[in-house]
Amino acid sequence: MNNIRNFCIIAHVDHGKSTLADRLLEHTNTIESRKMRQQFLDTMDLERERGITIKLVPVRMKYKAKDGNEYVLNLIDTPGHVDFSYEVSRSLAACEGALLVVDAAQGVEAQTLANAYLAVEQGLEIIPVINKIDLPGARPEEVLRQIEEVIGLDSSQAILASAKEGIGIIEVLEAIVNRIPPPSGDPNAKLQALIFDSVYDNYRGVISYVRLVNGRIKKGQLILFMATEREYEVEEVGFFTPSMSAANELKAGEVGYVIANVKAIWEARAGDTITDAISPADKPLPGYKRIKPVVFCGLFPIDRDDFPHLREAIEKLQLNDSSLVFEPETSEALGFGFRCGFLGLLHMDITVERLRREFEIDLVATAPNVAYEIVLSNGSVIEAHKPSDFPDPGKIEEIREPYIRLTIFLPADYVGKAMKLCQDRRGEYVSLDYITTERVRLVYDLPLAEFIVDFHDRLKSLTRGYASIDYEHVGYRKSDLVKVDVLIHGEPVDAFSFICHKDDAYKRALSVIKKLKELIPRQLFEVAIQASIGSRVIARENVKPLRKNVIAKCYGGDVTRKRKLLEKQKEGKEKMKMIGKVQVPQEAFLAFLKADEEG
């Protein structure tokens, strides 16, 4: 156990994490150079394309150190995005140390900080690596100072490297061996294995990636998943080299995989503890929690015949993604589809993109919304994922919405603009400090609902792309929210209702019904479009009754002429949906599903 080192790499997007991992694989001869390809550990095309890591792929390397001993180095890669911060924390929990990679030109960014803090929280030994020192814009001294002053780490032992040029790689390997402590734990104690990820394989079922904390696990053993209380017999255990290779047993301190004929991924969730079913450990390892989706959107196939296909595809993705939830939904404009819940915007984007690419389904994703908590007058709490989940206003005691703590790193010149944006989005100021004279760290608490509506894009354009952000979920807070209903000719239309802050209700209601007024054609009677909160109407527009009606001549007994004109006219209206007696065109629904374009 003394020559095992378990570590991970944490870095902001683009700071060179995957390239560094590639170099380590090469230097330890884990992968022959000719089989090497870029971002080896990122298995999905999407990851390579976006340069981000979504799924963790652990790898076991053998390294002969300068002290003459051979060490087993287990690299546990981590996703770099905050949507997956729970997975990050589970991965960190499986390690004793972390490489903190910082771009020598960019310096400390928002995610660097968040992840470094997570690592500190887990008690990890942190080795700062200043990467890309070969770049012309590299400012290693400045970055070292930031590591010291902003993060608060001792920078004297930081390693200067260029993963791309292969500079500093040996130093990194030596530091892993010398500075990261070997795992502690007792191979003879009761089995406790931390699942830090699970994937689904079509042939083998669920494969759990584990870190053995105490005890041993081997083929034929009866095991218990402590959170889900499921019992299975182990079929195979083994290591990642980086492909899976079977072994006799895994013991305390080691990282590997367990296959136990588990059929569904939710039975073996990240963070759960595997123990022996016959002589179980007293308690599971700490830190497990069931993560709940916070962002929701509707997914609808463009071709309605694709609906069963879409269901199959989402079910397949869910096999591999226990945080994805979905339920069937019907939309006036889009027909049958699903309302899906995600950990965040990136998780949503990736899922939609995978459905498009891997399953070749053309689909429409509606504007995202958040999950609300509603305290009813009888004291019970319900969760609402869409406006129609909201009960009658009279029954609502209080509404809570999810908040995030948003950290923005940006040049000092743009602070005013960024603060204004946060204020406009109902942000609550937390702190502002100068990292350098030109660079500022700005922290706000922001309702998630305000964040998911193009906040990041706005911020990027306001700061010309110089801002980096990170956020963490800080739970639900009471908010002065109202549900605004839209009534067409007296009929409430679910598809048009929305949730917003009380102070924004009038303005948004007005913009919505104005838009509808343009989109709903004149009918045979006057149509009222109203926006109401409960029974109180807050805004109203009227669509004047139809007048244009051509009384044309009948040409030489040609009655087909009129019929054909009417058929043409009808064709245009065919795509309309009847709301009570009113014909509403699809565009109206579609316009509403897209994000609001205000001022």
Binding site: N549, C554, G556, T560, L566
Partner: protein, 391 residues
């Protein structure tokens, strides 16, 4: 079902078809000539050159002869309508020839009505005299407006004064006189519209047709629309209010008349009567079979001279569609759809379907009196939207 060649293929020589031809029909004769093309007009017509009219009258003679070869005797016509184009572009002499042709092939014994269309610029006393001496009972005059500014904007070849003269002459001759008016011009107001209608009524006309200026495809204005058209709706509504006060009944969506002075020929169109259309771009309907002649005098002439019918469009609608169409046509008139007759003709299922749609229409757009479903005055105003429901 538009065809590439001019050969008719569907014309059914079935019993019901022959039966239709042996019974009295309505006969439409198209005169495809005008002294000029009006920019809004989509009727087929050309400006005649010397000799064109004579040869056309010969072609008409031949086409009628072909029809009589199917009937095995003269065609029985209960109404006649000579329209255009401009039938008054034909001189009295031409008219004499046309009358001879008609008498040769048509039996007018049960004749209820014979109408001609006339234009103020070309109408002569000679025409009127001839018509009166023959079987013509009714004349429809293309006045369009009694306002000189509006007429010149429309590029009509006549002025208000000429139009007034023509109305007076027709009424004086004892012909049942109808006037066509148009609305929706730029700058037209209810006052100017009222003046035109009132002035027309002063002459003692018994029938009035009103049409909204429509920009049709394949017309100069259809390609380059004029600007500033007035919305027609209020003008139409005014006519609906004003004319009944003067004793005129709106018996059809575009037609008002003193009681029983309706145009029976047009009613045949709306009520599913059989009619034969003769001449280029004319349409006919015989017990479910509908045809359209070539809208081109050259194509028309070619096929007639080959001894073939100049038919380029034919259709026999399936029962359900035919029933819906018949309901839409009947709803143009104040008599509307008779529940009993409709059921008998199209069947119980078709009637049920009709009722399903009928019940969806707004209450103030319809009325049902003694088993007849008809549009109200408001219903006529928004008829397009109502009809659409039946498709």
């Amino acid at each position: 079902m538009r065809k590439d060649n001019l050969n008719y293929s569907v014309m059914p020589l079935s019993e019901s078809f022959s039966w239709a031809l042996s019974c009295p029909v309505s006969l439409y004769v198209h005169i495809p000539f005008c002294v000029q093309k009006c920019p809004y007009c989509a009727f087929y017509s050309v400006v005649p050159k010397t000799g064109d009219i004579e040869s056309y009258l010969n072609l008409l003679d031949n086409e009628l002869k072909m029809w009589t070869s199917l009937t095995g005797g003269k065609i029985h016509a209960q109404t006649l309508y000579v329209g255009g184009g401009t039938p008054t572009v034909l001189s009295s002499k031409h008219w004499e020839q046309l009358i001879l042709t008609l008498e040769r092939y048509v039996n007018f014994l049960p004749l209820l009505e014979a109408s001609v269309e006339a234009n103020p610029g070309t109408l002569s006393l000679g025409h009127i005299k001839l018509w009166r001496s023959w079987r013509i009972t009714r004349a429809s005059l293309g006045v369009q407006s009694l306002d000189d500014a509006e007429l010149s904007w429309l590029k009509r070849p006549h002025g208000a004064y000429e139009a007034a003269d023509a109305i007076a002459a027709l009424v004086a001759s004892g012909l049942d006189t109808s006037v066509d008016l148009m609305f929706g011009f730029p700058g037209q107001t209810i006052r100017s519209w009222h003046r035109t209608i009132k002035d027309c009524l002063k002459f003692g006309i018994r029938h009035l047709s009103i049409y909204e200026l429509t920009l049709e495809e394949n017309t100069p204005w259809g390609e380059n629309p004029p600007e500033g058209l007035t919305e027609g709706y209020p003008l139409y509504r005014f006519a609906q209010w004003y004319l009944p006060k003067r004793g005129f009944i709106q018996y059809e969506i575009a037609s008002f008349s003193l009681p029983r002075h309706w145009c029976r020929h047009n009613i045949a169109y709306w009520q599913g009567g059989n009619f034969l259309g003769i001449g280029p771009s004319a349409w006919g309907y015989l017990n479910g079979y509908r045809y359209g002649n070539a809208s081109d005098i050259k194509l028309y002439a070619d096929s007639i001279s080959r001894g073939e019918f100049p038919i380029v469009y034919e259709e026999i609608l399936p029962n359900e569609k035919a029933a819906a169409e018949s309901a839409m046509l009947a709803l143009r008139t104040m008599w509307g759809v008779s529940a009993r007759a409709f059921r008998r003709k199209w069947g119980w299922q078709a009637y049920k379907k009709f009722l399903q749609v009928w019940h969806l229409l707004p209450e103030d757009c319809k009325k049902t009196i003694q088993g007849k479903h008809a549009f109200s005055a408001k219903g006529f105003r928004v008829a397009n939207s109502l009809w659409e429901q039946f498709l």
